[in-house]
Symmetry: C2
Subunit: 398 residues, 2 copies
């Protein structure tokens, strides 16, 4: 298959050309071609985004539902956002629940589901996090790190499928846990943590390479104790994951400070969305000033202004009313931080791939890499998305 | 007079050459000379430091004593630190007291005192500051800005001698005050303030160009409200004044973060020392773990470890036990932040001169500028200091 665009985003330049896809890979990129091809005209072809931190989105929630079916729906939903691969992400919960999540990922991967975004493995966000910074996590399930518990958590999942763990490095047992993860090629991010500068400095030697949802769920920057946020700014080599950019929770200026001090090479973008359409209990969202009430196949939104709306949990229609997706973050970055598409590719596709060590096959448009491609309009809407060379999403409204 | 060194720090390069001084100015800089000269050999000749924020030091304290004699002693003491000009700095106090301070500066300037460091004018640190961030300032004397009060404060001092004012821009009346200062060429720094991002953004248009003792006496950086510290980091054009670098109050890493995000062009160094030898009441210093007890011409230091020391208030001997001077900050910057002498000149001499608009005559070694020169050893000790072309200090121990 050959696709064409005037703007193909290669790692170092944008070309007007043809892209040949074969056996799921990018086979070649060339300037002239005579045969049949799909012409995307002025639209850009970019490497698909990789969401390393997503609990649920749109029609499915891995965290709230947890079965294979929910993960399939979620995979299809995130693809509409330009996310061609992702890590379903857990939370701090009972070991039984975490085992279920692990087994779901295992089952999903064995099935070779050919719709939606690719699952690259799992991100364990907890349970080895600090209850002092639990945020939305369940306090009773925040545990000190333990390899024994970790091995239980895996269930049927092969450890090679664990790509990322969020951990509080100040907890007892963290050092041993980190060494174990390093040995098993599991990337480690600090999150839900009150670690001090000296602890972080030390734990960097044991595989701590970044922070989860920068600024949130961590001690802030202070000039007499840098805390997690200050240490993340200070250490050149730590990656800072920025969760969805609404313009509210983390101000564009706070992101800008991180970009200016660290450079774009150490910034990643994730959604940290949870699939709010699938909450099991009524839930009040203070930023949206809305109560989410589960209602069979529907979710009812009770806004503080008195309006009420009922939305089909299994349809993407009106889903934007529930939770912003990866693409809205992307648009906000362009608008609020003057980021170019090139910048966004760097933090959404390239750096994320590097962070979990899949840049040999993902994260950029290069010959022999997986054909995970997003066709994007000038307005940053997704027109089409290819996963491993298969056209798995087309936006028929545009 | 001709002086020679292998390392004369000109703005853009270091030269091995001769420096001719005439009528207090740098007359010329040349490579070859046949007549008599003073040879400083390998020592560096640098533009003297300018301390924009100093209440007292060594044998004199403007703030604690307040008379012309104390200012003379202070001027001589700061010169030993390589500070060839400075702004005696007030605090929040009764209007009567502030008038005394203003009159002292006026009297000192009229006298053309020819020893020690040059007084460039006054820095009013308050009284228009916020009691919520009073720090060591007197709460009852923190006032809302008022031009009427300001005009009273001046006493006999001409307004052209007011070079800098520290102000909390969130206070009622700040806007009018700032406009008034702008009109009168008084530089404005935010300090002892809880101003939010939007207030700072707005007040920048009214002459706010920097912050006083960065990180201290201000709201810290938070990702949902940048506060004074976050705004100071964010706005490229705001100068950040760093007070004495002990390595304790503001961590070297916190300074480093500011340098990396803002660049050296917007960092200034001050001592913010107070002349602790001259306190009028017993005073406990929690970092030094020492009580300072006034005792006639002496000051008694009672250390927490039980040791007691009596020091002559009017002798520089043992003065390092009381308070670190500008030069110790300089040495700490070299040691803790790997700053070069070039970097230190930038923040200590050049940027400070630019900040209070005296760079046309101070802050760098250039022909026709004032011959304010410091001869510095490789170990960053001051060997000699010239003020307006006069050799006013020589270190006879080195």
């Amino acid at each position: 298959m050959i696709i064409k665009s005037k703007n193909i985003y290669l790692p170092t330049r944008v070309v007007d050309g043809f892209l040949e896809i074969e056996d799921g890979k990018i086979k070649s990129i060339f300037n002239d071609f005579d045969g049949d091809y799909i012409d995307y005209g002025e639209a850009s072809i970019i490497p698909g985004f990789i969401d390393l931190h997503v609990h649920g989105y749109g029609t499915g929630s891995f965290t709230h539902e947890g079965d294979v079916d929910s993960l399939k729906r979620m995979a299809e939903s995130v693809l509409t956002q330009g996310v061609t691969s992702f890590l379903p992400t857990t939370g701090a919960d009972s070991i039984e629940r975490i085992i279920e999540w692990s087994n779901t990922v295992d089952e999903f991967l064995k099935e070779n589901y050919d719709k939606g975004s690719e699952v690259l493995g799992i991100h364990y966000e907890g349970p080895f996090i600090n209850k002092e910074k639990k945020g939305m996590q369940k306090e009773e399930h925040c545990l000190d790190p333990s390899i024994e518990v970790f091995n239980k958590m895996l269930g049927n999942l092969d450890i090679s499928k664990v790509k990322l763990m969020t951990i509080a490095p100040e907890l007892d047992g963290a050092e041993e846990m980190c060494k174990f993860c390093m040995k098993n090629n599991i990337q480690l991010s600090i999150g839900h943590s009150v670690a001090d500068f000296q602890t972080i400095k030390k734990m960097k030697d044991y595989g701590i390479n970044g922070v989860t949802h920068m600024y949130s769920g961590m001690t802030g920057f202070h000039h007499r104790e840098l805390g997690v946020a200050g240490s993340a700014l200070y250490f050149d080599d730590l990656y800072c994951e920025f969760a969805k950019q609404t313009g509210l929770t983390v101000l564009p200026e706070a992101l800008d400070i991180a970009i200016r001090i660290k450079g774009l090479d150490r910034i990643t973008l994730c959604s940290d969305s949870v699939g709010l359409a699938h909450v099991k209990e009524p839930f009040y969202h203070y930023i949206r000033q809305t109560e989410f009430i589960p209602d069979g196949d529907y979710i009812t939104l009770k806004h503080d202004d008195g309006t009420v709306k009922k939305i089909d949990r299994f349809s993407m229609e009106d889903m934007d009313d529930i939770e912003i997706g990866y693409l809205t973050s992307v648009k906000n970055l362009a608008k609020n931080n003057n980021m170019s598409l090139r910048d966004i590719i760097k933090i959404g596709s390239e750096n994320t791939a590097k962070y979990i060590n899949v840049f040999d096959r993902k994260g950029s448009i290069e010959v022999n890499k997986d054909a995970d491609l997003v066709v994007m309009s000038k307005d940053l809407d997704v027109l089409a998305a290819y996963v491993n060379g298969e056209l798995r999403y087309e936006n028929r409204n545009l």
